[in-house]
Symmetry: C2
Subunit: 314 residues, 2 copies
């Protein structure tokens, strides 16, 4: 019997789940080599423009395997549709029986991405945290902040965006968090005044000047997940005390680390994988600049799909 | 709104569909380069042993893209479960919206595979056909014969299998076709008395001696779909008048053609792709031996998923 779960059903159980703990376990298993995660399957469309990613895999000795389909069709908003869509499929690892179809419309991908940002902050955010800087005003800009509040305490937030309208709308969306939110259209002002920075944009040109970043700052770049996108200056990676990747193999092909290696600022051997960081050093003590590059790994999908399935069917 | 379709619903509409015509169109589009079919995604499991294949793609300027998941877990029968399972997912090519989830449990894969065998017979079966030879007694051995009867007329069938029990059970399963079915455990007897042979086994050692095949015989090998499987003697390909592949690129990696090329009996340039054969020569006139190698292509999945979706929702 295959269970079909609607977005509404999924959203109802999400608040009760320990998403962070489960995804942390997933990253650890991944870095220990206990996850089977083949290369991402891709379909591209030109007219109208769209991309489909198929991420799939399993943890060894687990009960399930998961196949996640996520699409982005960038002209959708002109028809009143969201750009993103998708579903997660959960199967029994011992028999191949389909157990659940989670028709989440991309929500679970958004949540597991925000959770990875929070996990990074838990291990990498500086102790002295006066202000969080958020770059971007979209869904991830909102969710990253929501999930950050689960692991750090900081009252002040500076948000950067390209238009005053989007910044106002963002402030309204996150006002339920009860934080002091200020906005700015000056990226270097946001960069120089924040000790924890999260970038959530699809830009191909760095958002701020490297000199704007103060010692004792951590930056999580989660927007750059393709070979072209590039949110932070590659030279910053060259002077960072610690660089962390969600998946070293993936970050050699896409994201910030890929640019910095290509431009000769770092060697891939300098990069620590997130799952190894979690296992080996409960909290980083770097006093300089630290950087995490998140490109999204199928273990996150595996873990969140399992958690939702258990909540709905146990 | 995503439509969820059960195996029963799917089986109810199948008899009314022109599966052969649609899959023929799919092969033609594929050979014309109008289909986008990325490499197959694979997951393997050791304990218990299982394989999962993800086949996906789309026809250009069509309304849909299709993702098919098919699994084989070989210990399932000990628990009273079928080895095969799977589903097909249909999405709107313009927006990424999921339109239908066909919970076919692998039935549509079985049917589209049988349809490919019938299409090959339509174009390649010899004019003088006294007896059809079937190797194997499983689901495909039955379905291939059922679909063959849609395109050829031949009263006599010889079936080969490894046990008398399975042969008796097979004869019972196909008796509704009203044919003269004889069985044998001697593969060379079946091979030498049949002018149209279909092999449907997972063997890694050729089923019969090359000398058993008479001039004027066509062989369709549909069982060998991995690099290891090998149903017909590679030397037979060396003396064949015509060799056809469902997908030349796939048959270079797996199946009969791959073995014959590797052993030096043929060059890949001698192979004709099925879609090209359909377009260029309405009926082959070869008087010697002809061979078709079927490994299964995502265009078949695309076409059958679309047909079922239309039947259920239009």
């Amino acid at each position: 019997m295959t269970n079909i779960c609607s977005r509404q059903q999924i959203e109802e159980v999400l608040p009760g789940l320990d998403i962070l703990g489960l995804i942390e376990d997933g990253f650890v298993a991944y870095s220990k080599g206990q996850a089977v995660v083949p290369p991402v399957g891709e379909l591209s469309f030109r007219q109208p423009p769209g991309d489909v990613h198929i991420k799939y895999g399993y943890l060894e000795n687990d009960d399930y395997y998961v196949i996640k389909i996520a699409s982005g069709f960038y002209d959708n908003p002109t028809q009143g549709l969201a750009s993103s869509n998708g579903m997660m499929l959960l199967f029994r690892q011992q028999t191949g029986e389909p157990l659940a179809i989670l028709l989440d419309e991309g929500v679970l991908t958004d949540i597991r991405t925000a959770a990875a940002g929070a996990i990074v902050a838990k291990y990498m955010a500086p102790e002295h945290l006066n202000c969080v800087g958020i770059f971007g005003t979209g869904v991830q800009a909102r969710l990253q902040l929501e999930y950050l509040t689960k692991v750090i305490s900081c009252e002040n937030v500076l948000v950067w965006g390209r238009s005053e309208e989007k910044l106002e709308s963002y402030k309204h969306e996150v006002e339920h968090l009860g934080l002091q939110i200020e906005s700015s259209e000056d990226p270097d002002m946001v960069a120089s005044n924040s000790q924890l920075i999260v970038t959530t944009t699809p830009t191909t040109k760095p958002l701020f000047h490297p000199d704007s970043i103060q010692p004792g700052t951590h930056i999580t770049a989660m927007g750059s997940d393709t070979p072209e996108k590039n949110e932070i200056p590659s030279s910053l990676l060259g002077i960072a005390d610690l660089i962390v990747a969600d998946s070293i193999i993936q970050c050699q092909e896409r994201g910030e680390i890929h640019h910095a290696v290509e431009r000769g600022f770092i060697k891939i051997g300098q990069v620590t994988e997130l799952g190894d960081l979690i296992q080996n050093s409960p909290k980083t003590t770097a006093e300089g600049i630290t950087i995490a590059d998140l490109t999204g790994v199928a273990v996150q999908d595996i873990q969140i799909a399992k958690a939702v399935y258990h909540a709905l069917h146990n």
